[in-house]
């Protein structure tokens, strides 16, 4: 049996992953979380609910997403074979939609007519606005004012989808502040509102249910590896902000002890500079934010630190609690890619394979390239290409001195 079997039995009844996770929220939110927990417990193993989820993933999202052998890029690197799990080909262009489809079904079952979400790069916001449009739910998206500025395209997409985007001006005006504001909305409008959290963080049961809905990525990738490679891959690589796409890819491989996993955090200007968003790589101290205990970047007084990353979607000072545990027990190796490496990977995949990745996913690509170079051509790496890069064209163009 796998020496990591115990990891598949988590969280415990109160949402703890070892010392991490939990439900650190104001009493005003307890009822809503208990309610969500009850709804999910009732549906989790309900075949009808699962069938509905699978149907939506097939016919609306377009699953399964391909596992693509990046032959030319692999050849150029001259090391291991790189395979891309093409979550960028999903409807709405990223892995985020898997989770929003699942949570939207929960919202529907709960009978609440309004959904809210926080978003960083806007991918989760777009995915939420999309499912809200489809189900006829009222939708408000909280987004840091700085991210509204750097992700104009996604803001407009959400607007077209009938959602209201609320720019959040408080704090550092990024993802964490959007999450604060969404929590404040939820506590005020809990009777008619379902909060669709976009990552494997937040109070219990969110890290668990976002993981469960995201794990379709890894289930497919595992099956596809067996079919296309003829065996399991040697390594998996995925970027980690809150950590939902990495969790989705990794979780179904947890007990495959020989599969080495790499979570790639946002190195920003370099982990050594302190201006990054890589709490695991930097060994940030344990802390509590947004309802869970995890590795958290904060100053000596416990004030949450400002983070720095070229990608809005990874610009978050904490990380999902299950990742925190996986670091401690050594199941996953957490590393960082800095902004320059990320941009190089973004350009390289675009030129060599004709696939433009999201800047978030380019973190995983940057590390996969390094890793592949140290491996041999008969070894295989599966990289989660978690999203497409259209939304980042503005950011990259600006660096090239081009304004639209």
């Amino acid at each position: 049996m796998s020496r990591f079997h115990d990891l598949t039995q988590l969280p415990d009844a109160r949402g703890h992953f070892g010392p991490y996770g939990g439900r650190f929220v104001s009493e005003t939110l307890s009822f809503a979380l208990e309610e969500l927990e009850t709804i999910y417990a009732g549906l989790k193993d309900d075949p009808e609910f699962q069938a509905e989820f699978d149907r939506d993933l097939t016919h609306y999202v377009g699953r399964p997403s391909p596992l693509y052998h990046a032959e030319r890029w692999s050849r150029e690197i001259g090391g291991a074979q790189i395979w891309l799990k093409r979550e960028d080909l999903n409807h709405t262009g990223a892995h985020k939609v898997n989770n929003t489809i699942g949570q939207a079904l929960l919202a529907k079952k709960s009978g609440k007519p309004r959904v809210i979400a926080e978003t960083g790069a806007g991918q989760h916001g777009v995915a939420t606005a999309t499912v809200a449009a489809r189900l006829g739910l009222k939708c408000e998206i909280y987004m840091g004012a700085e991210d509204v500025e750097r992700q104009k395209l996604n803001v407009y997409r959400m607007h077209l989808l009938g959602a209201t985007v609320v720019p959040v001006e408080s704090g550092s005006r990024t993802l964490k502040d959007a999450m604060n504001e969404a929590l404040r909305d939820w506590v005020t409008n809990v009777d008619d509102t379902f909060y669709i959290i976009g990552t494997v963080a937040g109070p219990h049961p969110y890290p668990m249910l976002v993981r469960d809905f995201s794990a379709i990525v890894g289930r497919e990738a595992r099956r596809q590896s067996l079919e296309q490679i003829g065996r399991l891959p040697d390594a998996l690589v995925a970027c980690v902000g809150g950590g939902s796409n990495a969790m989705g890819l990794f979780y179904p491989f947890v007990e495959d002890d020989d599969v080495i996993m790499y979570g790639v955090e946002a190195g920003g200007e370099g982990v050594a500079t302190g201006r990054h968003a890589a709490p695991l790589t930097a060994n940030a101290p344990r802390g509590v934010l947004h309802g869970n205990r995890t590795y958290l970047m904060s100053d000596e007084g416990g004030q949450v630190a400002d983070t720095q990353s070229i990608s809005a979607g990874l610009d978050y000072p904490g990380v999902g609690p299950e990742h925190a545990l996986w670091k401690d027990v050594g199941r996953v190796r957490y590393v960082a890619a800095d902004d320059d490496e990320v941009l190089a990977a973004f350009r390289e995949l675009t030129l060599v394979e004709g696939i433009m990745p999201a800047l978030e996913s380019a973190h995983a690509l940057a590390h996969a390239k390094k890793l592949a170079g140290e491996m041999s051509p008969d070894q295989h790496i599966v990289v989660n290409l978690s999203g497409r890069g259209d939304k980042d064209i503005h950011t990259v163009a600006k660096l090239d001195g081009i304004e639209f």
């Binding site: 208990e34 704090g171 809990v190 416990g302």
Partner: protein
Amino acid sequence: MNRTASNRIDRRFAALKAQGRTALIPYITAGDPAPAHTVDFMHACVEAGADVLELGVPFSDPMADGPVIQKACERALVHGTRLHHVLEMVAEFRQRDSETPVVLMGYLNPIERMGYDVFTRQAEASGVDGVLVVDMPPEEAGDNAALFAAHGLQSIFLLAPTTSEARAREICRHGEGYLYYVSLKGVTGAATLDADAVGEQLSKLRRVTELPLCVGFGIRDGETAAAIGRVADGVIVGSALVGRIAERADDPASIPAALKSILGEMREALDRDVAG
């Protein structure tokens, strides 16, 4: 739980009960608008008739607070106010006031980062009486509650209109000092409240606890204080005070008088009810 009157909070509520009076509990954020003023503001609150002081520990991500207290945190943090400064403020306050209970209110991360042992030792030494950690409900308190108790720090917990009866029992069992009943759904500083509905909820709670029931959220003036005072053992006023501080942030010398004015009005309204 040690319910002897060794703690200032218990002593104060026992005395109020004997007099048939309602506790007036102001909240201010430490370090707002600048750290040098906080101790003066605390004394001003006591002079205006405060029975217990809730001192907010500023936090970068105050998730349960509305814009008024968010901005207070930002003003305090700009001046570098951290938890250890707040403890120093309490120690300074204690030099002139050894009787008024002080409760620290805030979020868990500053305590987590300081370390629970260091925090409890220093809080006890500074003269803190109670701790209300907004994002640490009883089930996540774990060993901390016992550690707090060992250092004479009472754990104050929140109750909400949505709290189930089973949870309310559990919270009441763990609670010490008093219970903070959140009068309405939402964040601090939110809209209006319904005193009758609050009264109904409180009478249900009285069946499961003997702890004093204090009500916060939505108390803004003498009238709302008196209305809640009729059904509660204490009224907690936060955003209304912090709003006054914000208006006068450029002229901090005028703030003590402003605090005294609004608290004095509340004190009078609460005591008038007793007399009547």
